[in-house]
Subunit: 199 residues, 2 copies
């Protein structure tokens, strides 16, 4: 195979959920496209890579030189609520649902022995100063409902022990909307029973 | 969402089998990667888009200015066999299996009323001259085993009616290796029965 095409396929194949077959299809579709879609994509990648940085306050990716991100700039979102999430895709998911109107804090990972992520790797250093500066009254944990997620949540709560006038909360566990009990795992069912509500 | 990131996601989402969720994952993985994988990908795209063209003889993508492609240059492949395929990914598939050692001819599509592909859209104009110049003795059709594939094959054979000393062949139809009869469709089963071999 032509080395330039081979290199392109390999780079595409390494992207999440693409793989070798997908990389071949993508490379071929770009090379056979006469409308310059490939060049447009290359330019967009370079533009984003060179001009997007994490917000120094919350970690949301934002334009370089813009100071803080759109969420931190928006005084309408300074409602005292701070939602702690793992990464930017969680912010996008929450934004799409329009369920939360406060500010975010991206910690960038979950504590995990398997992948070697330590407390020092989490973006949590400025949490106390954010709570003070932005007069945060509630911290909502929206981390994955897994062992790693819960471990990370406990760790963060423990580091904020001496912070006053802040309540901590986490998303409810239970049966998802439209969820058939036949297809719900035992762990979820146990949590749903434990958290049952009176009618 | 940040407009630069949004644009990047949209361009990735349009690639084959990626979609919006996949585009988000890919964009995020590149933006969060510190090793410059995004820039390397952008450079590889531009390099391939600007320096790769179809071989003027057979249609295989090759370096610009190299004349004909690696297959057409390789005199070891001038064995009189010419394999007609739809696109470059079919060439890659056949090369991986090491089943064919002749030359290729990419026609670039299949005749189809639905997608409006006409005989003039097929890369077949130089087939007669290739047969003469390269002393082709067998033309092997490796087009998809579909109505469009067979229609295209019949069309190409009809245009080569007055070519002499060439035999035409097509890939065998039948039960794939490891194929359980339970999962084989009726059409394939009919073809496999019709083409049965004595032991």
């Amino acid at each position: 195979m032509n080395p330039k095409i081979e290199k392109l396929i390999k780079l595409f194949a390494k992207l999440p959920r693409v793989g070798n077959r997908g990389g071949q299809r993508i490379a071929l579709s770009l090379l056979q496209d006469k409308t310059g879609r490939g060049i447009a994509l290359a330019n967009a990648i370079v533009d984003a890579m060179e001009n997007i940085v994490p917000c120094p306050r919350c970690g949301v990716l934002t334009d370089v030189g813009a100071g803080v991100c759109e969420f931190c700039r928006d005084s309408g979102r300074a409602n005292g609520q701070l939602c702690i999430v793992r990464d930017l895709s969680d912010v996008w998911t929450l934004e799409k649902s329009s369920v939360f109107h406060g500010r975010y804090h991206i910690i960038g990972g979950l504590l995990s022995g398997a992948s070697g992520i330590l407390p020092t790797d989490l973006n949590v250093k400025n949490l106390p100063s954010r709570i003070t500066d932005e007069i945060i009254t509630e911290i909502i944990f929206a981390l994955p409902n897994t062992v790693e997620g819960k471990t990370t949540q406990h760790y963060i709560v423990s580091t904020l022990n001496d912070v006053e006038n802040v309540v901590f909360s986490e998303l409810a566990s239970g049966v998802p909307l439209g969820g058939d009990l036949d297809y719900i795992d035992d762990g979820t069912l146990t949590l749903a029973f434990g958290g049952r509500k009176s009618l």
